[in-house]
């Protein structure tokens, strides 16, 4: 354990930028490929709270230099694909206490309608990417009100 701690200490001094990192390298891939894959949850019959979503995707593009490749679909299938790593982000309406919150990581709400929130979901454990999504979502949430 001591070598591990020494290594950790060295890394802390060396540069905090590399921590946290993604186990599956999402952020690095997004930057490298210049593209991130977004699933947009189709809300039946109701228009999405579009402003927040657009602002979030723009913010993420600005931060990574990548553009969003958006597709639309049903919540279940998009979120399952997010879990499997086939998508990088799913944006849509969630219940405030969504059971998905344990399986994927939800951002702060970027919009709200009654009991549902508009939020972005990222794959669990991709902590660098999650940190970025959180930051951008927060920027949208605080700027949009």
């Amino acid at each position: 354990m001591k070598p591990a701690l020494l290594l950790a200490a060295a890394l802390m001094i060396g540069g905090c930028d590399s921590i946290p990192a993604d186990p599956d390298g999402t952020l690095a891939r997004v930057r490298g490929e210049g593209r991130f894959r977004v699933g947009m949850i189709a809300s039946a019959g109701r228009p999405m709270v579009a402003d927040g979503t657009a602002a979030l995707l723009k913010g993420l593009s600005g931060a990574t230099g990548a553009r969003a490749a958006v597709e639309h679909g049903a919540a279940e299938s998009l979120l399952t694909r997010l879990e499997d790593g086939d998508l990088d982000l799913v944006v849509g309406e969630f219940a405030e206490k969504s059971p998905w919150a344990a399986k994927v990581t939800l951002s702060e709400p970027i919009g709200r309608r009654g009991p549902t929130i508009l939020a972005a979901a990222a794959r669990n454990g991709e902590n660098a990417w999650i940190a970025l999504v959180h930051r951008e979502a927060r920027a949208v949430a605080s700027g949009g009100r």
Partner: protein, 310 residues
């Protein structure tokens, strides 16, 4: 049964009591700090559960000592010395459960390939990775157990107190899981999702080992086994020497020793009582520990009843 303790031992007991109160106070503060920084890290959760569990030996020590000080009553004619043995069993179970929880939890999360999310949080207007907060909380949680555990070990030895000794082992488990937690969180920070669970898993073996050793001694004590060494399942040397001395004095007799809490009780069967005996003079070990030899009882030989008995 004589149970008056020498003045130095009484002083040690008072120190142990103070240490245990300090332990409870520090651990309570650690439980709060870790609870606030917990997030969804497995190692942090287990560190928290284990901090709560680690209160058990301290509490049962204080409880047992409270009873031990009482004299015999009509309902408990032998006094309450064995409450210490009982408390020891409880403490040993707590330590073993902690090792088990840690092992099972970390194995499960490895098996499920759980990728732990540690998000950034806002703290004092600053965006900061929660991992650093966790590392800070864990670093805090490591310091008091190291100090308290080290202070308890020599006391436990002098007092021949298995509960206090198990408590010191618990503190060791505490600071080890704290360090494992730090390594695990930083591992996650570096992008190794399994770091957290592997660190917790490795530590769990050492804790489980201490717990099971304590459990074996506690069971031996309650089942009237021969006195064991402090913190080990080996037979105690001082007790073995005492037995040899008694066998020498009463050849042909059946000599049995057992622990009752911190005391040693000896029974010599097959010999009539020789009248008064100086227990301190019989004690073969270091004289400052002769207080442990609390009772020597004799059972007369079995045979056709003499007119006096019946």
């Amino acid at each position: 049964m004589r149970t008056r303790l020498p003045a130095e031992i009484e002083a040690d007991l008072r120190r142990a009591v103070r240490l245990e109160w300090w332990t409870i106070a520090w651990m309570a503060s650690i439980i709060i700090v870790i609870g606030l920084a917990m997030g969804s890290s497995q190692a942090m959760k287990t560190a928290w559960v284990e901090d709560v569990l680690s209160l058990v030996p301290s509490l049962v020590f204080l409880l047992a000592l409270h009873f031990e000080r009482k004299g015999p009553t009509e309902r408990f004619p032998y006094g309450y010395h064995r409450v210490n043995s009982l408390a020891f069993l409880v403490a040993a179970v707590a330590l073993s459960v902690m090792g088990m929880v840690l092992l099972v939890e970390s194995a499960l999360s490895l098996f499920r390939v759980e990728h732990v999310t540690i998000p950034p949080i806002r703290l004092f207007g600053q965006e900061i990775w929660l991992g650093w907060v966790m590392v800070a909380a864990l670093a805090y949680s490591v310091v008091p157990p190291v100090i308290l555990g080290r202070m308890k070990l020599p006391l436990a030895r002098r007092l021949q107190d298995e509960v206090l000794h198990t408590d010191a082992m618990m503190q060791k488990a505490d600071w080890m899981t704290g360090l494992a937690g730090i390594a695990g969180i930083i591992g996650i920070g570096l992008g190794y999702w399994w770091a957290d669970s592997v660190a917790a898993g490795i530590i769990s073996f050492s804790i489980l080992h201490d717990g099971i050793t304590a459990l074996r001694i506690a069971l031996a004590e309650l089942a009237d086994g021969a006195p064991r060494e402090l913190g080990s399942a080996n037979l105690e040397e001082e007790a073995a020497a005492l037995r040899a001395r008694l066998l020498e004095l009463y050849p042909g007799a059946d000599v049995r020793l057992r622990d009752s809490g911190r005391f040693i009780l000896a029974q010599v069967s097959g010999v009539a009582s020789p009248g008064s005996v100086d227990l301190d003079a019989l004690w073969p070990g270091r004289p400052e520990r002769s207080w442990r030899f609390a009772q020597l009882s004799f059972a007369p030989p079995e045979g056709p009843a003499s007119p006096a008995a019946a």
